[in-house]
Symmetry: D2
């Protein structure tokens, strides 16, 4: 089977997310990493490329060099899409340049630095008609799609309240300026943008809530806190929100919740039932119909919807995890590039998701600045 | 051993909480129900009293009759304390009258209808020097005291964030005016006061947060929602709060969260560790020291603090529940009446706790009315 | 309401189970402890009786004195039933003597020291027609009855395999001869009988398996182990068994499983579904219909069978525990004495249960002695 | 980086485990599938090879053709190792032939059809000095290695009792002869060997127990059951065992436990502590030191041993699953082929593990045939 050829920008030595992307894209044999500009420093770029086995002539010193170098190759050799895994502040320019010369893009989240950039980029993507994938990994978990399907089927009735949380504990201390490269750039406004916890993980929670509910967050009221002395961005965020068509919600994201690991989780309460899902136990989905026993829906079980069942690689009881969710995003990205039909019900995070995320982020930051006013999302 | 003699007001046929009090007070053999005015209707009062085995001459038609009748008995026969288990709007007058003639009081929560009443009652209690117990049942769970002890010992460091929740689902539909007597009065402002979910269960959550943290809620911002059409009081409450001495928190109480049963739970995140406790699994307490494995502290285990260990009735692995927690409150109430020394570290909800609860409730309601302003607690 | 009057033999200072019985019998207001011979030593009996508030003239030095003293009282004052909470070796004589003079009996398990005694006692009970209750506490948990009801209703189909376990860890070290009075007699053949772990807790597991399945254990193959040096009785037991009408099972009981608290639990696998229940989380019952999501049945939920619902004291989400289960046994014991009709489906452990338990114990011990032969139960 | 070149035998259309191997070997970029004889039918072999993107000239009609074809290629092109994913009865001849001509082997379990074959194969492997990997996937989970490390460090003291279980429910009905190809061959003695559940999954449980404990199973007593009418091999197995150096254990494997998915789990009770691990929640390991709170050790946590930490691909809270465990086996297999040093503490299942597994299987089957005699393992 044909493999979609990818080139990576960022993700060199010391980066965490680059290796994750590489494991994910390789898993299903649908994508192949053929080139990269893995670091902004030329020597490091070269060393990093060699370390992951890229052909010497496909290791580039910069993304510009990569775009040019690949364009010079025959079409059936050159990469087809650019994977952007740099810190946030670099997303915009790489994505714009890639689209400009005709490459599809698969980009880390949050999309860009602010809503203005997001709109420009979305315009460019639309203009070119190229495929734009966004790494909202959690959208790759099959049971998240099952949750969405249960909502769509009316199994929990009209949604009244969503509670979505994303607590972590890894920034409970001042880690900036030390060995932890992740801590360094993710807390730096110049590289991360205006949001700390709210940008890094709050946008995931926002995406999950919209995805499962099939509704849009239309208005927010937020309070951002910097608990750790010396930190430049929020490490804890509380957001109340309103949903399109009624319904309320609350979003909580934190990086100072000692003992929390990567605790993205959601509860959706409707008039006739509820749903509960937790990223750290991704192979279980709780469905609670009113007046009946709660039901535990399990990954790869026979009663799942067929479009959900199609996403599993292993039989029931063989846990799939984060990398598998990520691999599903890559598989669907490759399918879209190849023009393979994707089930309508499989929502795939794209440039529009990215714009919505940036609108959410902008509104939250603005609300917080105003002491907690209600702010509409500007989309 | 001497048993403390109690008289009960309210709790007749069809009431839920009266029977719970009776099971709880009997459990440890420290209290004895000797008389009662169990209903406001004379015939029902008589029937209810007989049904629970009260002596005929100790069944009264009204609380006034009970107070008078008992005062007429010799001191070593008459009741020593009045247990108030009526709907909220009756608490004040019964409690005032009981204190007035010299009886100790054990009262359901929330204390009274508003902060004004609370202050008057607190003044009376102080003036008489009588014992005033408040039925914050969850304060009777031993591991809640262990949590408090861990905080006091500095095991989690300075508290940054408290998340306390109390979701239920039993009012997800309009139940008012039907067979469910509980639903009826708890959603009626005339009998329940100005708070629905926030008054009925939110005050428990507030008390738990203050108890475990050893801090006071000093300021709140709230949003109260009535999700169910036709309901007169809030059935969902979101409250942001500030703690004395720094630290923030969030409180969530709901009665429309389908599938939630009686889900009081708390997470306390400090600089060096975290705690987690859940009422529905009361015999487990999670303690998470930073950088170390999480620890599961279990009821009746050998490593608990001695003042906590003293609260258990059964060995490890024999679950104690809600009634046991309640019974502990009665045991401690009886000890205080008898002048038995209680370990200083055992916080017992009393009239001051009640005043704090009413101040919290008033501030929350006021904040909500003003569209979510920050309001200081007026204590 | 009339209270059934009880007299207690054993359960004085230092005993664990006596206090548990007292809390349990008091809980529902259906029983009353009116007299006792709480210790074999006269002074200790007196001190123990006073400590729990027995009237001075109802504190006896021996069970014989109690039987005689109570018989001398008018019928409407004297105790109606004898509660036997002594070490096992005393059960037989006290029970026989009590029945002889016309008192009902509520006895701790295991019933007696061997199957021969059990048969004699059962003959006496039958002859007198008196009520004989057996303290298989776990039979008092409502969800155990729900499990039984699901089996009876054919919801899991024909039973193939039962796995019942009862691990504890409290005897992982040599505790004999020290402060732990429980450890002392429960490991002493002269007082406990021929079974250590298998007698003390294995008989509970056996009873639970028969109760839920509605089948009888007809044959066993066993291996008993003494892991701790110097111990006189088994502290670990493995038993394979056959069920009447087909079906197999395995029973495991241990007192050396470090970290296990009181882990009685059962899995029942049928042709069409499975059940799972765990004593340490008694308010949850898992029902797994084949090909469907697992269902979590919860205590006091609206979908339970009515005869099960009638057993709860508190609403959903207010956990009931071990003492409540025990109190239910006392409530049903009192109902039987008073001739109150009990739902047919509520199995109450009685003298026949006790005989079955002793037959099981005898067969297990015999099988182990023979190096693991298959032995039929002799009932 | 150099990738180890692999050729696959079996795993064509309709096979489950072939795709799993391919995802696993690709994940870390350490191996590459370069050729295959994926089916015994030539056309199917061709179609299957094309479907997974093998080069046309590296798709073979039979394993013999593959061995010959690859030998004809220059050494730096030809495959280095043969991956055997056929039904059990084919393992022996393919493995022997592969070793014979100098290829390393990575083989599915159980190793071969009986102990005799196992010994011959082990002799050949030793003679050639080639690397022989065995697909005991669960040995790839990092926390299994952490469990082993805790035992080695003496943290639970001398081991007294191991309880290892592997229940599944997928064969609760007669599935043979239908669409389920897995059910078909795994229940057929001619292709699966003499063990049904005990061979397919019981051998995994045996391997896990030996791996974590660092001890050997030396003697067994077994009962094998065929619960489903018409089935030819056991679908439920109970095995008592003795450990080298003392200690006892019990192993349970079943395919008729409705509701069980892939429930491999283990409890290890030592004199000073206990361990508990469950394959379906592989990122959690319970460590229970005596007299202390239980500790929950989590995947990728900072307190893990360095050689364990080195096995993770994602940070804490990003669940790794079954495929990641499998990928780790492939990574270590590649490391061994390349001569990369592997930490001594990382036990890697190899030909000796396979022989031990077959000896276990033989002893179990023999014991069952003799009605449950104790049988020594013949190794």
């Amino acid at each position: 089977m044909h493999k979609v050829r990818l080139g990576m920008v960022g993700g060199g030595e010391g980066a965490f997310i680059g290796a994750v992307h590489r494991a994910a894209l390789a898993m299903d044999g649908r994508c192949e990493l053929v080139c990269g500009a893995l670091a902004s420093n030329a020597e490091k770029a070269r060393r990093s490329g060699a370390a992951i086995g890229l052909a010497e002539d496909r290791i580039y010193d910069s993304y510009n060099a990569m775009l040019a170098g690949e364009m010079a190759l025959p079409q059936d050799k050159r990469m087809q899409a650019v994977v952007i895994v740099t810190p946030n502040h670099v997303h915009f320019e790489v994505a714009m340049a890639s689209l400009e010369v005709g490459f599809h893009v698969f980009c880390e989240k949050p999309l860009v630095m602010d809503l203005g950039q997001a709109r420009v980029l979305a315009g460019k993507a639309e203009e070119t008609g190229l495929i734009f994938g966004l790494a909202h990994t959690y959208a790759g978990y099959p049971l998240v799609h099952q949750a969405r399907a249960l909502v769509e089927a009316g199994r929990i009735g009209a949604i009244r309240k969503i509670i979505v949380e994303y607590p972590q504990g890894w920034l409970a201390r001042f880690e900036e300026g030390g060995e932890n490269k992740q801590a360094d750039w993710r807390t730096d406004p110049a590289r991360a943008g205006g949001g700390g916890a709210i940008g890094d993980i709050g946008t995931h929670a926002h995406q999950l809530a919209e995805m499962i509910s099939g509704k849009e967050v239309v208005e927010v009221r937020a309070e951002l806190t910097r608990f750790v002395d010396g930190r430049k961005l929020d490490d804890d965020a509380e957001v109340a929100f309103r949903l399109s068509g009624g319904g309320k919600g609350r979003l909580y994201a934190s990086q100072i919740a000692v003992g929390e690991e990567n605790g993205l989780r959601i509860r959706v309460h409707g008039e006739k039932g509820s749903l509960r899902w937790l990223q750290e136990e991704p192979n279980s989905l709780w469905f609670q119909p009113i007046d009946e026993p709660a039901q535990l829906w399990r990954a790869a079980a026979p009663y799942l919807d067929p479009h959900v069942s199609a996403l599993f690689r292993t039989p029931i009881g063989h846990p799939e995890g984060y990398l598998e969710a990520f691999a599903t995003l890559y598989r669907l990205f490759a399918d879209r590039i190849d023009g393979v039909a994707i089930d309508d019900r499989l929502l795939v995070p794209d440039i529009k998701t990215g714009v919505r995320g940036m609108a959410f982020l902008d509104a939250v930051i603005a609300s917080d600045r105003e002491g907690g006013s209600w702010r509409k999302l500007d989309v």
